[in-house]
């Protein structure tokens, strides 16, 4: 029974909740039980308040019985990455530094989810402060890939991706700064979307790199991602960088295919370093579009080779500043023992509170912004960022979407890259440019390796073209069944 509910496509789940065929308490209980049964082996969740989740579900059922207006996600459980603030729930970013911190306010995306009637079912594991590509940099321990528990699920939104892939939640929110939604979605065989910068309010999203961070949805299929995106999008006066544009009704439009579609295939995304099996699978996916009448055009994104370096200067510079507030003075971890001076309190608290990868990025960022170096590194990186955006602007003159791989390889083994940060950084090589350019991107399942690991197809569109992106993604999904495959443990 439980796998029947957890295997329902989101649209069916919503429809059955709406019709009364299913009650939210029943659905939520099923997912909570699944978490209780199977998450110990996966490490997707860091905080689940069963009572609270069931209360939300009961409230949703009561509203439905009373005939009150039903939101887009009435009664649907949603897992939340531990980077978003929810009133009264601990928010730690999987860091010792924020142990015990309970925000007194809701992120705007959370407010919108609550308005849509969603049930916040639990908080998911992640790389500490969203810094990482494997889910291994967590104070709570690593998250494991449900397709092979010896492998990483990708990161930084590791827990959200695994929660959805392992059918521990039908939907999840993540955040994507350099690929942190798309990369784990790809490695876990589900759909993950990074919206245009400014589409979803960042208010209440604990910042890693403010000019790159975006909140986005995870779902098992494109329609689910479309519905969740619609629920959280929109202008927010609390976020100066959120854009005042109407929110398209993705849930209505996603099933409409596009005629005369022009798909750009960037030469730079099929270059050295791309695994042969991944390349073959992605090219097969492109062939599906061709069979649907799309035109495939080879394009160039000439500044791609600078993207990783540019990203690691801008993101770390901003991070070094954003994480300065964790000083042990006002909240979060404060060292028990320190020399007694203010400086030693800072040093001891931050030294104990942050993990190695976070410290590495703070140091890199402090260096990149330092007097005498800022022009060479930070300012230069901003200039290159504009060139990368220019590459995309030029490309979108010629094509409607850009398609290619999400990651160079399928999921690698736990511990395989932890001692080699640079090779870890390269796993974001195809996703990072979208954050630098601010454009939307989506990862959808497009096949499996011979060893049964998922492979994703990345689609990218011009700014605020999420509607087109979702429709193009859905065209592929309707023709294929990759998104219907589930890890054996979930059946």
């Amino acid at each position: 029974m439980s796998s029947i509910i957890t295997s329902l496509p989101l649209t069916s789940l919503i429809q059955q909740l709406r019709s009364g065929e299913l009650r939210s308490v029943e659905v939520t209980t099923t997912y909570l039980d699944a978490i209780a049964d199977r998450d110990a082996a996966l490490g997707a969740f860091v905080h689940v308040d069963r009572e609270d989740a069931l209360q939300q579900a009961a409230d949703a059922d009561a509203r439905r019985s009373a005939g009150q207006a039903n939101g887009l996600l009435a009664g649907v459980p949603v897992a939340i990455k531990d980077v978003l603030c929810v009133t009264g729930q601990p928010a730690t970013c999987a860091s010792r530094m924020l142990k015990g911190f309970v925000p007194p306010y809701d992120a705007t995306a959370i407010t919108k989810l609550k308005q849509a009637g969603a049930v916040l079912v639990g908080r998911t594991n992640m790389d500490e402060f969203a810094m990482g590509s494997s889910g291994e940099n967590s104070a709570f321990g690593p998250t494991r890939n449900p397709w092979d528990p010896e492998r990483i699920p990708g990161g930084s939104s590791s827990g959200s991706a695994v929660a959805v892939a392992a059918r521990l939640a039908p939907l999840a929110l993540g955040s994507d700064t350099g690929g942190s939604i798309r990369q784990p979605a790809s490695l876990c065989g589900i759909v993950g979307l990074k919206p245009t910068y400014g589409r979803v309010s960042r208010y209440g999203l604990i910042a890693y790199a403010s000019s790159l961070d975006q909140i986005g949805p995870f779902a098992t299929d494109v329609v689910g991602a479309a519905i969740l995106l619609e629920a959280i999008s929109g202008h927010d006066p609390r976020d100066s960088t959120s854009v005042n544009l109407p929110v398209p009704a993705h849930s209505q439009s996603v099933d409409q295919p596009l005629a005369g579609l022009r798909i750009g295939v960037p030469v730079e995304h099929f270059a050295e370093g791309l695994d042969a099996e991944v390349e073959r699978t992605v090219r097969e996916a492109l062939a599906v579009y061709k069979s649907l009448g799309a035109e495939l055009k080879e394009i160039h994104l000439p500044h791609t080779k600078y993207a990783v370096a540019t990203y690691y200067l801008i993101a770390t510079s901003e991070a070094s500043s954003n994480l300065a507030r964790y000083d042990g003075v006002h909240y979060g971890h404060r060292a028990e023992e320190f020399g007694g001076s203010l400086i030693s309190m800072y040093e001891a608290s931050r030294g104990e509170g942050f993990g190695d990868e976070v410290k590495r990025r703070i140091m890199l960022g402090v260096f990149a912004l330092s007097a005498g170096y800022a022009d060479k590194y930070y300012t230069k990186a901003l200039q290159v960022r504009r060139l990368i955006r220019g590459d995309f602007d030029a490309a979108f003159q010629e094509v409607d979407v850009i398609a290619g791989p999400v990651t160079p390889t399928a999921a690698f083994k736990l511990g395989e890259k932890t001692s080699d940060p640079l090779s870890m950084y390269l796993s974001d090589i195809y996703t990072i440019s979208a954050n630098l350019a601010g454009i939307p991107g989506i990862s959808i399942p497009c096949g499996f390796t011979s060893t049964g690991l998922p492979i994703g197809l990345q689609l990218q569109a011009a700014p605020f073209e999420e509607e087109r992106l979702l429709r193009v993604a859905r065209m592929f999904e309707r023709e294929t069944e990759w998104h219907l495959r589930q890890p054996a443990s979930t059946l």
Binding site: C85, Y203, L205, R238, S240, T241, V329, I343, L369
Partner: protein, 501 residues
């Protein structure tokens, strides 16, 4: 050897907004209830984001326009990064390389030792906007208890005004601050309350010492931080001038020499001395970079015009105009202007009603100022409203009452207010004049008759006068005035002289 004193000031002014610069919290001064005027944004909680208070930005622009600054059409926000417990985000949102305004000036009237007045033009290098920090409170019991942090003030909008090193004496520095305070309170952009920290000053001081060969040598620059009164600023600079002179005599160390780096000092008002805060100039690296949470601000000509149209006339041009329009002496104009905008408005209303600026100025700088001071009232609270005083003074001009009678009416109006707490209307003037018979008598017949009678009774005085004793006439005028209440003393005097001759 002689020297020039070189002073530049950095002044932090709190803008008079209801809410903070990047959140909706109140900016009220509330030291007795720490941390109540806070929210996730000004507490720097994870995930909270700043949103610019547009009204605060407009006040800042108004400030800069008052300082005759250029307003940038594009400005942005930068993070100034340092660790301190009163700075909850670990950075202050400020403006680094593209401040919203630059290149202005303030003219300050100064008096030389010989008493000559001159105008010193103090150039403004830049004025930028930033958020205030909170306040650390340290245990002063000596028992080493924990320090505390109050974040009520964190996020209060500030404008930092940086002058060129154009000031040449401690007195000029004080005069500049006084003129600045007058300007900002006139514009209504800040209350400049120094006790509450609404205006804080850092002074950069050094000496240019004249050498026998005609060249000049600069002493190391000292920044005296956190001067929280005009008097302390003046005293600290005076002390610093003497200290730097003595030090130079003793060591000969010049700016740029080894040991001649810029130093930072504080001022202890109890001892009247500055003291070292940072021995070496630690090259503080604030790692400024554009705040990615905020968007740049574009200022259009239309917006500027709208702000200009809301601005009142600043004090300096108003002083000029009072001189031109009302023929006031520079001294009277300054006395009135320096009392603040509402006081000057009061003056203008009186002057317009009575049609005599000089008369209005005399009364306002003497009678009104005296009464408001005695009663500890602001001009807005003063019982005699400008149209009433204007009407009263108008009656003097129209020769309907004498100045002496007007003073009597003025006193009566105030006494009535003290008794009834009712603001007197202009109509009360005529009633008092009638009741007390204070109207100037135009009937020359009555005056002539009284003079004839008085001269008849005072043969001795008449004889004294004819012998050249001018004083004798005073008693005669007094007697006539007693008989004909409201007679114009000037008329009486002329008529008596004519009658006696």
């Amino acid at each position: 050897m002689s020297y020039d004193v070189i002073i530049g000031l950095e002044v932090h002014v709190q803008l008079q907004t209801q809410t903070k610069i990047f959140c909706g919290c109140s900016t009220a001064f509330n030291p007795d209830h720490p941390n109540v005027q806070t929210c996730p944004v000004c507490l720097g909680l994870p995930g909270a984001l700043p949103v610019l208070n547009r009204h605060g930005f407009q006040l800042a622009v108004k400030t800069a326009l008052g300082l005759n600054c250029q307003i940038a059409s594009f400005t942005k926000w930068d993070r100034k990064q340092y660790f301190y417990p009163d700075l909850p985000k670990g950075y202050q949102i400020s403006q680094f390389d593209l401040p919203f305004s630059h290149d202005g000036h303030v003219d300050v009237e100064t008096t030389s030792e010989s008493g000559d007045k001159s105008i010193r033009r103090v150039r403004i290098l830049r004025a930028h906007m930033e958020e205030d920090a909170g306040k650390n409170m340290h245990d002063e019991s000596g028992r080493g208890r924990d320090s505390k942090v109050d974040l009520n003030r964190a996020g209060t909008p500030l404008v930092e005004i940086v002058t060129q090193p154009d000031l040449r004496s401690a007195e000029e520095a004080r005069r500049f601050l006084e003129e600045l305070k007058l300007l900002l309170t006139y514009l209504g952009v800040s209350d400049c309350n120094m006790q509450e920290g609404s205006l804080r000053c850092d002074a950069n001081v050094n000496l240019h010492i004249h050498q026998p060969d005609g060249s000049r040598v600069a002493t190391p620059i000292v920044e005296v931080k956190n001067l929280n009164s005009f008097r302390f600023t003046e005293q600290a600079i005076l002390f610093e001038v003497q200290r730097q002179w003595d030090e130079f005599q003793r060591t000969g160390i010049k700016l740029g020499d080894k040991g001649g780096h810029k130093a930072t000092r504080g001022y202890n008002p109890d001892r009247g001395e500055t003291y070292i805060l940072r021995e070496k100039e630690e090259a503080a690296d604030y790692r400024y970079f554009p705040d990615p949470d905020l968007v740049p601000v574009l200022v259009t000509e239309t917006q500027l015009a709208a702000i200009r149209s809301e601005m009142c006339e600043p004090p300096a041009p108003r002083r000029e105009r009072f001189h031109a329009d009302y023929q006031l002496t520079p001294y009277d104009a300054a006395v009135i202007i320096d009392q603040g905008r509402l006081f000057a408005d009061y003056f203008e209303a009186v002057a317009k009603t009575c049609g005599d600026g000089k008369q209005a100025a005399n009364w306002i700088t003497q009678d009104v100022l005296r009464e408001t001071k005695q009663r500890d009232q602001s001009i807005a609270e003063f019982a005699i409203r400008p149209e009433v005083l204007g009407t009263l003074l108008g009656q003097i001009n129209q020769k309907r009452i004498t100045i002496k009678s007007a003073r009597e009416v003025f006193g009566d109006l105030l006494t009535e207010f003290d008794e009834t707490a009712a603001i007197p209307a202009a109509s009360r003037i005529d009633e008092i004049v009638t009741t007390k018979g204070l109207a100037i008598v135009e009937d020359t017949g009555a005056i002539d008759a009284a003079i004839t009678a008085v001269l008849g009774r005072n043969a001795k005085a008449v004889a004294d006068f004819k012998e050249g004793n001018q004083k004798a006439i005073g008693a005669l005028i007094g007697q006539v005035m007693r008989e004909v209440k409201g007679a114009d003393p000037q008329t009486v005097r002329e008529k008596i002289i004519a009658a006696m001759q």
